[in-house]
Symmetry: D2
Subunit: 346 residues, 4 copies
């Protein structure tokens, strides 16, 4: 059997660990051959391949990123895209695909599977917002990086009696903010699922200074204030304005919150936007272990002919679930999960 492998979407620590596991078990146990497809779905779409065997997988386990490259190309948005993929797979003699990616990449996989392409999916997102699996790899690494940053910022906040606002990844789901906020001992966690009240936050900040040391606020990039009225977001400052301290406030939600806090409480506040460092570099042990197990299970699913499935962690078990299960709805932080640790944030 000849199996194609591709990685799509944003890069994520653990992608190489999946590739290595797929190939090692595929070659050594199942006797498969492999084709590496470059840059996500762009690879099978345009026939961009690279050699992929045990040799190419040496030493990649601890390395972040993906040796296959990635892209956000969607073949369903390309005229005749599906036919091109079929033709390219046929020409390369590829019988099955292992597609490693998030919502978008697996969404394509889901549709291709419905159209009869032999595809098995491996869920990937540092945001941890894919349904059907307890965790995705990359998430633990991102949370650890964010937590280490919060640890570092505590000493600065305390030494300068300042508020520090840490903006972490999470456009739709607040998992990174919630986990890193709990692990880092934050004073508040703001997530997309729960619009925040800027005035209540500021009052909370003032309380913290009274009874406690300087607060750290962890905020998902996708967090939003509660609406204050017709088209208003409840925040005073818009991008580009100077705040009470004369700092021009720009950029994302972290910066705007810091500006509001300064304005409303008179306390100095600074924002730190962690950005891409959360998604690069060597994976944690947990992510390497999870990614490796996903890869081993995925190639077994190929061998078993269980196409249209994706791998999922349930407790400590790796199960195969229908691809549709992982891509139907985003896994969001529930009100109960958000409330669980509110004693630290309240």
């Amino acid at each position: 059997m000849r199996v194609g492998v591709l990685t799509g979407g944003g890069d994520c620590p653990g992608l190489n660990a999946v590739i290595r596991a797929v190939v090692r078990k595929g070659v050594q146990v199942h006797g498969f051959e492999f084709v590496g497809y470059r840059d996500g779905w762009k690879g099978p779409l345009e026939g961009l391949t690279m050699p992929l065997g045990v040799e190419q997988c040496r030493g990649i386990l601890p390395r972040g990123g993906t040796i296959l490259g990635s892209s956000r190309t969607n073949p369903f948005k390309v005229e005749g895209g599906v036919e091109q993929i079929r033709a390219n797979l046929a020409e390369a003699g590829v019988d099955a695909l292992v597609a490693i990616g998030g919502e978008d990449t697996l969404g394509v996989a889901t549709k291709l599977a419905e159209l009869g392409v032999n595809v098995v999916g491996v869920p990937k997102t540092i945001d941890n917002d894919l349904s059907g699996t307890d965790f995705t790899f990359g998430f633990d690494t991102a949370v650890n990086i964010a937590t280490e940053a919060i640890d570092r910022l505590h000493t600065t906040a305390e030494s300068h009696h300042r508020v520090l606002v840490v903006e972490v990844m999470g456009r739709h789901a607040g998992w990174i903010a919630l986990h890193a906020g709990i692990a880092g001992g934050a004073s508040a966690v703001l997530i997309p699922e729960q619009p925040f009240d800027i005035e209540a936050l500021c009052r909370h900040v003032e309380t913290r200074f009274e009874t406690h040391y300087a607060p750290i606020i962890v905020v998902s990039e996708g967090a939003v204030p509660v609406e204050a009225g017709e088209g208003e977001d409840g925040m005073t400052l818009v991008s580009g304005e100077k705040d009470a301290f004369g700092h021009v406030r720009l950029g994302g939600i972290g910066d705007r919150i810091a500006a509001e806090i300064e304005q409303r409480t008179g306390k100095e506040a600074r924002a730190v936007v962690l950005g891409h460092v959360q998604r690069g570099g060597t994976p944690t042990a947990f992510d390497r272990w999870l990614a490796t197990r996903f890869g081993l299970q995925a190639i077994d699913a190929v061998a078993d002919g269980e196409f249209g499935t994706m791998m999922a962690l349930h407790g400590t078990r790796i199960d195969r679930v229908p691809l549709t299960e992982g891509t139907a709805v985003l896994k969001l932080v529930s009100p109960a999960e958000y409330a669980e640790a509110e004693v630290f944030f309240g």
Copy 2:
């Protein structure tokens, strides 16, 4: 209500995070008062207390160890021990206990609960060998430390064409070795649950050198060779003998395996015993998150009067299970779990 808290057994990253969560939620939500018992069961046995409130829990979240101290004291091995505990609890006005510990500490908790003491347990072991819960805190930290060490040893092994044997914790269960071996890209993993054949291992080492770079062998401290006959353990060298390279081989299983490999394959081999660094220092984000959630749930269990339970992670949920469930049998690596990643070790 007045609640006593104690930590028993070997120290473990995350103990302080549990204590902090128990106290913060106990005080702020339930209005409880707390008594800190020093040094495990020795505390209630001998009436050794320390003040424990929100103030004592400041800044302890990222710190390893336990502010309460620990010991392996077993009150059931002390004449009149149980009565002393009852008397001391009564005198201090303590209505309930939160006991954080491993097999031994929770074993005592189980028996005391059966005798009517109000006790709630929180499972703790870096070895991850407690039943009833998917993971225990401390384990993820230990695995990350071991994995980072393996990462570092790879470059040494390759540069010197050497075999490196890494001995990790795990007297009865091979979880740390298995997870770190997978995450670190080891060439073999030896665990207590699966006696190893030293000759087969040595042949495997030779194969690795032929086709591959220098091998890393990860071994649990409790790993044992298959029996070679009447009282023999299949290993040639005993402690204190010189091996083929003139090195005196001593100590634990790691050292003995390194000696056998040198003797039987003619390849240079070195052992590294990670030891206590695996159990100290700041916990990973996962362990802080798990420990915090165990603590929050434990004090809720106290508030609910659900004594005789211990906290358990199932998937992403924290459940309360009977204390007996966690302490009945050790959770060992099953043959299937051991075999899952054998393509890398075979």
Copy 3:
């Protein structure tokens, strides 16, 4: 003798290590007593003190920040400030001061020393731009954090064929950028001392893509483009404009450079601003060693009555140099130092 200790300016990993060394040696060897002054020069100015002895210094060696707090208060900008300080020192019976800080804090120390106050200085700046000493503590920590971030970003840049621009601290001097750029394998390093030509940078970026993997550009926050003409800075975009990819580009120099690169080369570019994580958290071993030795030497200088001096690292030796030497001119990256590693950046 009674000695006051204060820390001024931005916080910096190693401050607590200095304090601990000053106090431990002062108490145990010289028999001194100590007064902790809070929040930099604000402390002696307003008579804000805290107890400072061996007890307060327990466990602070590995902790970032400063237990004394910090501020940027300048007593020379306060009417009657110097007299107030004299009066407060006299009232507290303080015979000498150890002032730990950067250009501003030591500038005040220099003037006070000239006015006859017994003061000894310890240089501190993560920017490493104080003259008279080979290195200052905090710098090594900042460089390591920046380097680790660059390591992580490499895999993202490669996986997505993107340019990543990393903005690091350094308003006037490019030391952090230069060291982290060399250590992290950057493709270009832009520093305040050497205005950059944005067009040349973009051509360089294109070359990298041809012959090499995706480039990482490290830029000091204080880096500036060469002037392109009357009041122009040679950059096309100003804050708030949309770039070719539709991203609104805001904020600092890193963001603007990323925007220009996208605009001029058509390559996707992203900026990461490391910010305050560079200055918080536990110090590296080098910084703890340097800070400790500075502290030991500083209190000996007090004992020797060598006031008006500051501690300086020369090679591996700690010397005492006149305070004026450290505060006269900023230590900048020389053209020769910038050129040394240009083979990697050219």
Copy 4:
């Protein structure tokens, strides 16, 4: 010009950084060609070569170990060794050698230079015991790893009221122990240069328990007790004996000291031997910076025809010094340097 490069002796973080700098500047600036010699002096001795160019140096900057391999082969101990080397260099058309190594490797380089071979040396030792240079690369990495381990062990020592003995590298010189001991806040540091009195150490341990938390003792592998008499080393236990707690004490000096402490003070003591983890893995920023600068300077020395020199760090400058200067005597910790921080250890 055609230049050979080799790395000898124990592996050391930063070797690859040197190789990369030598090759990048050699090719891009000087137009040299390169030959990689495998496994130290064994390479030119036996004519073992590998291709070495810009391509081979991609991505190696952050990697520990050496892509060239290493050995301890000494051509002067091989009959006709020097002639073989000359013949192999001539045959390969190699005009000059860059030899990267420690005392032994550079000792060979020194003698070959005296015999007219064009050789330039780069000093390498994690022990930091080479004369003529302030620091060698690899040392900072080793000290950081040891310090991080000590940080972790503090919490264990405190939680269990135990003594922990940490054995670090350093057969002849105590630099790693001294720096890590200062940086880690050890209670005592034992180094080869200063024989220790086991009884005084035990009394010191007892004092620590009285006034302080549980002590950490850092000991160089080469540390020795003062002689107690005719052929006696002042220690009670020899390898293999059981101590007071029934533990069989074996192995190195760390283990023996822990046993003596238990025996003499009745306090529980454990030893941790850090071993090879100190010398593997990714180098710190400082070591990458130093190694890179050594490499750049070394290939310039080749271009300048300044053979028989080695690179040396003096303050922040890289100088060329005669090879003999680096290999004449070991750089040991002086009594004054040992005494500098004794207030923490006394």
